[in-house]
Amino acid sequence: MIEVRDVALEVGARSLLEGVNFSVARGELVAVIGPNGVGKTTLLRAVAGMHALAGGSIAIDGVPVGALSIHERARRIAFVAADETPVEALRVRDVVATGRYAHHRWWEWRENASDGSAISSALAEVGMERMRDRVFSTLSSGERRNIWIALALAQETPVLLLDEPTTHLDVHVAQRMLGLLQRLARRGKSILCALHDLNDAAAYADRLLVLGSGRLRIADRPDAVLESPLLDEVYTIEMERIRLTDGSLRVFAKKR
């Protein structure tokens, strides 16, 4: 479980976010949304222990993230960055095997049986097992995204953080990706991810966190968030809301 209490974040000397409070329970998929530059990535990095807090506390299953060693942290939290790292000449399996780093002490250089099964099940989970011997750089964007998630899954952590996992993906691949995250959450992971597409976020997440003007503006069920006029204010654009035949709500920005 992720617990974020009264968190303040700064970038350089500039205050980015303050007074942020929320939690993500086991089995829950929570999406962070908000305009560009509002602090979604920085918030995820702070939860991952990669960005220092200017105030407040973040705990994973009751243990403050700052009190964990890097190794302990990597066994509790896996973070998938949005940036595409160029990886030359590595096989898919080697990339995923990196997720096992924190399960070894520095002198244990050889893979063991539990590494092998964690890597295989991570690849199977993202449907990429048959690609295990492919060279990573030859994969498509969607396949590469899946492999980064497999790397995080190989860490076998209760918490999974993803920064814009559907960026650059076509609509079909993006839906499959979000479906995968939903399945992983149902199996007990606490998942927090930053998303840009409001409708995708509402369709798959259990709750939405809306960041705006340096604060957490709304934290609620997807429908409640999409209905809120605060959404228009946060994005500084008028939204049109349409109720689909299945009863779900969708929002679209009106053309200016």
Partner: protein, 326 residues
């Protein structure tokens, strides 16, 4: 992969054996093997083998292995294939200190020691400039290494200009051209403890270097203490480069090209790549040294010059072929 590693070890051993056979006086293999088996024999061959050729071959093999491992470490850490051990500032700092020392009339015998100390001092300066928070900034490291090297090269040029009227100019130039001439068992014994320290520092960094192949952010998320790995790698790479400067002066290109060749042969796994680079580096420099000693015997070509003559076309060939294959 392990078979290829064993193959490289065999090539390095064969190169060292060839190095024992050739030189100003070619020696038959049977005599050399006999002398190796009887170190205390008083024959001429035993004296040549044990007092002249073997220390020199161990020296150059040590230099080749040190530079190649140092280059592989830095290229892995910075994820930049154009980085070489001298980026640490070791060679430029050593060259400047030695040039000034020779100009001041200090005996050439002291040059290797001065080079070692000044090289490490220069590496510390580069590291201080490249520091960011508790770790190192890869961009700053490259910038600091390149700019300090340029600064120290200017000092060397100035020293040569100033020394032109005296004998020290040729001593400085000889040192810059790279040569193991005049080094013996004592120099190797002096360098060994530092190489051993470097090896001990490398061991905990190996799994981290393997993880860093997927990029700094993902490696950090997977549990890599990136800053610790940076310091371990920089310290060991600088120690190894300083050892090689002490043992052979400026020997270029080995640290740049050998890791590329080793990667082609054994792949990107650092656990295999580092020993493969060591064997390949030892083999390359030993063979180059054998050519230097024989091609214009009894005169000797400078080792650094010959390696650049071999290294540059080989490097360009590899890259141009790579480019056209893509």
């Amino acid at each position: 992969m392990l078979l290829r590693l064993a193959g490289l070890a065999a090539v390095a051993a064969a190169a060292m054996l060839v190095g024992l056979l050739v030189g100003g006086t070619p020696l038959p293999a049977s005599d050399v093997l006999g002398a190796l088996a009887h170190p205390r024999a008083a024959s001429d061959v035993a004296v040549i083998v044990w007092q002249l050729r073997l220390p020199r071959i161990c020296d150059v093999a040590f230099v080749g292995a040190s530079l190649a491992v140092s280059g592989a470490l830095l290229q892995g850490l910075l994820r930049n294939p154009l980085v070489d051990p001298y980026l640490t500032g070791v060679s430029a700092g050593a060259a400047a200190a030695i040039a000034l020392a020779l100009l001041a009339g200090i005996s050439a015998v002291a040059a290797p020691g001065i080079g070692f100390v000044a090289g490490l001092g220069s590496a510390l300066l580069v590291a201080a400039l490249a520091r960011r928070g508790t770790g190192l900034d890869p961009q700053r490291l490259i910038l600091a290494g390149v700019s300090l090297s340029a600064f120290f090269s200017a000092i060397v040029a100035l020293a040569i200009v100033r020394a032109q009227s005296g004998n020290s100019a040729s001593a400085i130039i000889g040192w810059l051209a790279g040569s193991p001439a005049g080094r013996g068992w004592n120099d190797i014994a002096l360098s060994l403890p530092y190489a051993a320290i470097a090896a001990l520092l490398i061991l905990p960094a190996v799994p981290a270097l393997n993880a860093l192949r997927v990029g700094e952010v993902q490696a950090r998320s997977a549990g890599v203490h990136v800053e610790r790995a940076q310091w371990l790698v920089l310290a060991s790479a600088a120690l190894l480069a300083a050892c090689s400067v002490e043992l052979a002066g400026m020997v270029g290109f080995v640290g740049l090209i050998v890791p590329h060749v080793a990667r082609r042969l054994v792949g990107y796994d650092v656990r295999v790549l580092l020993p493969a680079s060591a064997f390949a580096g030892a083999a390359l420099v030993t063979i180059a040294d054998a050519i230097c000693r024989t091609i214009a015997a009894p005169a000797e070509l400078p080792l650094g010059v010959l390696l650049a003559f071999i290294g540059v076309p080989a490097f360009l060939y590899l890259y141009l072929r790579d480019g056209s294959a893509r």
